[in-house]
């Protein structure tokens, strides 16, 4: 598979060689990140190197990104998560990585932060509801984690699960979705360099309402695929069951790639409202990442596998 680099990267955004080689700084950054997460201090910074996978588009404000969230574990209104997610305990936290792998095991959040150098990934996010944002995530490729557990040849898919603790998450008491929240990717989607686990936002520790302490970000799929507050990752042979496609199979498919040509049964996906803009703009195939990911779906009928 040929993966080309994005076209919209200005040369100024590519990491200078000196910085790239400065390993000591990364070690310190990792240590600082651990401290920041364990201290639960949202204002604590994470050192992250810029990434050639970032878009050059202007990011949305921190306020927009942290006060307009879909995180049903904390309520179904967009403002609920910012109000009620602050009770979530993000430390101690661990993620089990299990299933079809040679070395399955549990990772403490401190270990996850040191798996790979943290990068800033400025990505477009397109919600299935028809709005979008540009978000400066801090994270590392999901592939770096998966490689550590050595997936075997039966690992065709990756299933993800969020925390579902009614004590900490008031929305879990309501039956609006079948908890815990579940998502999944095909293994090649999971290993794609655009797919990251995010632990930060705007250079700081990830705010709780955005899926702290660790969440998935798959920028070419509708936002609901990017599962938040992950506690379990499972490599498996069968296609995973996912929350939204269980809740409404005719409206939400397993793939859910951003596609302006395949409408949601009740609304159009041809356009989107970028938060901060007045009129709607055209939605791009694969959310503008077609050059990098369209090859994953060559020969597939995207109307059928929506």
């Amino acid at each position: 598979m040929l993966i080309r680099s994005p076209v919209d990267v200005p040369p100024s955004e590519i990491t200078p060689r000196e910085v790239y080689l400065d390993r000591r700084r990364f070690m310190q950054a990792g240590a600082a990140a651990t401290l920041a997460l364990l201290g639960g201090n949202a204002a604590a910074g994470l050192l992250a190197k810029p990434s050639p996978w970032s878009t050059g588009e202007a990011p949305n404000s921190r306020k927009d990104i942290t006060s307009y969230n879909n995180f049903y574990e904390f309520g179904t209104s967009k403002s609920d998560p910012a109000d009620s997610a602050q009770t979530l305990r993000t430390a101690p936290w661990s993620v089990v990585v299990e299933g079809e792998a040679g070395k399955p095991r549990r990772f403490a959040i401190e270990e996850l932060l040191k798996i790979a150098p943290l990068e800033e990934r400025v990505y477009r996010l397109r919600c299935v509801e028809g709005w979008s944002m540009v978000i400066p995530w801090v994270g590392f490729p999901l592939a770096s984690l998966l490689r550590l557990v050595e997936p075997n040849s039966r690992a065709k898919f990756v299933a993800f699960e969020s925390l579902a603790d009614p004590q900490q998450m008031p929305g879990v008491k309501s039956r609006v979705l079948d908890w815990p929240y579940r998502e999944g990717l095909r293994i090649d989607e999971a290993m794609h360099p655009l797919t990251i686990l995010a632990v930060g936002l705007y250079g700081d520790v990830l705010p709780r309402q955005n899926g702290a302490p660790i969440r998935l970000v798959v920028p070419w799929k509708y936002g609901f695929k990017s599962i938040k507050s992950i506690v379990r990752i499972r490599l498996q042979e069968a296609q995973p069951v996912t929350s939204w496609s269980t809740a409404n199979p005719s409206e939400y498919g397993f793939y859910s790639n951003v596609n302006p040509d395949v409408d949601h049964p009740r609304w159009s996906q041809a356009t989107e409202r970028r938060i901060g803009e007045f009129f709607r703009r055209k939605t791009l195939p694969f959310n503008g990442y077609a050059e990098q990911v369209a090859g994953l779906y060559r020969g597939m009928d995207l109307r059928r596998f929506f």
Partner: protein, 193 residues
């Protein structure tokens, strides 16, 4: 007679949702202002309709006839918010494009329902004047029964657009069911006696 201050008070109260909306949008209190304006004006149009429909049962229960003098203003305010709702959708969502609007109305069932409800309300707003009441005589009352199907369509419109959590539209639907159920009950009792 209705005390003199009641109508001006209702007028001011009915303007509060608009005031709140303007303040929130201008102060940046809404992250997605267009969505907020659309949802807020739609919700207040529905609430306005429910208030309008509540006046007749309230009069029956309280025996206080002057309440009916508020009906016209309540109905017109509901229509006012419905107009803002439709305008927001047309201007900010469909970018003034009539063709785009028409396609959306035909293609999206929830838009179709909302659009039909608005069309049903139009003649009621136009014929709300004393002159039209006189001209239409008994037919005025018949015509204005269109508010019942319009309100039902508005609730269905709301139910159909919600992604997953149906609580809010169901609450409004229940209120409407009580208001319409009361009418059916009284009508049935009137038939029997």
């Amino acid at each position: 007679m209705l005390p003199r201050w009641v109508k001006p008070l209702y007028f001011l109260l009915a303007l509060l949702p608009l005031l709140r909306l303007v303040v929130l949008v201008l102060t940046g209190g809404a992250v997605n202002p267009v969505e907020f304006i659309t949802h807020s004006t739609g919700t207040w149009a529905l609430i306005g309709l429910l208030v309008t429909l509540a006046l007749t049962p309230l009069r029956r229960l309280s025996g206080y006839a002057p309440l009916l003098r508020l009906r016209r203003m309540a109905g017109l305010f509901a229509f006012f918010y419905a107009c803002l709702h439709v305008l927001t959708y047309f201007v900010l969502d469909q970018s003034f494009d009539l063709q785009l609007l028409w396609r959306d109305v035909l293609k999206r069932p929830f838009v179709t329902l909302g659009f039909v409800a608005f069309v049903l309300l139009l003649p009621l707003a136009v014929t709300s004047t004393d002159g039209w009441m006189r001209r239409l005589k008994r037919n005025w009352g018949r015509l204005h029964r269109l508010v019942y199907p319009a309100a039902i369509l508005v609730v269905l419109h709301y139910l159909w657009l919600v992604k997953r959590d149906l609580t809010q539209p169901l609450v409004y639907g229940l209120l409407l069911a009580v208001l319409l159920g009361g009418r059916v009950y009284w009508w049935y009792r009137g038939m029997r006696s």
